[in-house]
């Protein structure tokens, strides 16, 4: 369990992190992916910050890349959002408005927590598993593993998103669709366990 900072997203190796925990990566997506991803995508209903739009776009690319194909119904799928700083652009915007005595828009209400974009993804793609948000990449993989191993979900969509922490940084997001590795002894021993 490490407090993975924003740099952890610079070169994430989701396959290794997943394999260490007995998980397999079914699909992956990210933003930016290429030079074509110059301007952050727009996500209707979300305003003033790239956090949710980037998370949604990386997740869309991941789910569309899954073997079942775009639009296919998924089994019970958890959504885990991991971010070290959260929606820092949105938080700074609210702080400036509060300190300046400005009016706040009503959309900022639900954007204040990372659950909002998880709910957007869940509603759009029919993901009925748990929604959990954590503060680091490693924690995200560990929580996904718990939800899968304990049978709360069959698949877990893990979305990693970080906005530029300071000048010169870049906003980025990555998403992986995770499942338990088959025949993993750690997971099999839990079948039917009771205290």
């Amino acid at each position: 369990m490490s407090a993975a900072g924003p740099s952890a997203l610079a070169d994430p190796d989701p396959w290794r992190a997943a394999a260490d925990l007995g998980l397999r990566v079914l699909a992956a997506g990210r933003w930016p992916e290429s030079g074509a991803d110059a301007a952050p995508p727009v996500l209707p209903g979300f305003t003033g910050s790239s956090f949710s739009p980037l998370a949604a776009e990386a997740a869309r690319r991941c789910l569309d890349a899954h073997a079942s194909g775009p639009g296919a119904a998924l089994p019970v799928t958890a959504v885990v959002v991991a971010s070290a700083l959260g929606d820092v652009a949105g938080a700074a915007q609210v702080a400036r408005a509060v300190d300046g005595g400005d009016r706040l828009g009503p959309l900022l209400f639900f954007q204040a927590v990372p659950n909002a974009v998880a709910g957007h993804l869940a509603a759009r793609r029919g993901l009925t598993g748990p929604v959990v948000c954590v503060g680091g990449v490693r924690s995200g993989f560990e929580v996904a593993e718990v939800l899968l191993a304990d049978g709360d979900a069959e698949l877990a969509l893990l979305v990693l998103v970080e906005q530029a922490a300071g000048p010169g940084g870049a906003d980025r997001a990555a998403a992986v669709l995770l499942a338990l590795q088959e025949h993993c002894p750690t997971h099999r021993q839990l079948e039917g366990a009771r205290p």
Partner: protein, 395 residues
Amino acid sequence: MTDTVLTARRGPRSVVVGGMGVLSAFGRGVEPLLGAALAGRAGFGPVGRFEVAGRRVDRAALHPGEPSLERELDRVVDEACGAAGLSAARRAGCPLYLAVHGDPALARAAPVRRAEHAVEAFAAGVARRAGLAGGGRAYTSGCTASADAVADAASAVARGRAERVVVAAGYLVEADQFAVFDAGGALARDGRVRPFSAGRTGLLLGDGVAAVVLESADAARARGAEPLAVLAGWGRAGDAHHVCRPRPDGAGLARAVGAALLRGGVGPERVGYVNAHGAGSVLGDRAEAAALLRALGPVAERVPVSSSKSVHGQALEAGALLELVVTVAALRAGRLPVNAGLLGPDPECPLHLVRAPDPVGPPTGPVAPGSPGGFALSLSTAFGGANTALLVGVP
């Protein structure tokens, strides 16, 4: 959508609550909080901690003064570890799962300094000062964040991956979240939280900082400690419905309750009390009532239900843990927290609400919560359609 996660499973070890620490609008410690909850004495008053001129609502449930989140987290973790009788050596091997909105300093930090305010660095600071194991995991899923921390800690203990975990959470009412909740029209215009009541107008924020020690029953027994409660089950499920509105039929929350009961090996008839999420919002309370009817069947019409938010307010990321503390304390007292603020019945919330303080005497209810075999549920929901259920029983 089925109502039960039939695949929900858990490790074989029994999980217990070894110690608790808390701060609320009623002061420090469990007793003042429990006293207010059992009496139905709401703690809402005018906000003097920051500027509320220009806001539609000016009330919250506040601890006096300007408490510091770091200091109060340190204090409750120490209180919980002390109550559990953990030595420094045992603390040193114990991880911390912390639920917070974020490092309070982040939003106003200079851009070049923001990276220093990562939420898991904040959690690691709490762990270091408390003498807990290094690292520190942070949960940020809004009003279900601390229930997520409890569920993951319980899973780790049940599976034998950890002997014990300290779960802590904190929210102290501050200007930014107050402003966005006010702008969203979520705050109760009449200055009271009235869960499941006719005429309810919304939620109010409240201070909450809490910590619990979750450990294996064997570990507690081995050092001669007497656990406060058994964490018998936990469950989580999503609505897949909307960015911030609850699913009207309550199916997601019902699946979370079903998973908690399944993990606990407990049928609905053994649930003697439900501490509902009950924020006091029109849509949320209605959906929660639907979820309880769906998950508990006929039992839902007679099991005592209240939302302790009606006295201590909504503590956001810390809410689920604050309410778990209330639920465990009530279970041990064998008395039921009151659903304060009721104006009249809402036909769309046909629940058996706890309307008045229990007379001091033998415990009441279909299964008296303090009696052997009595269990209580503590429920939470959050934006994004997140739903959690925690099931506790007496040891």
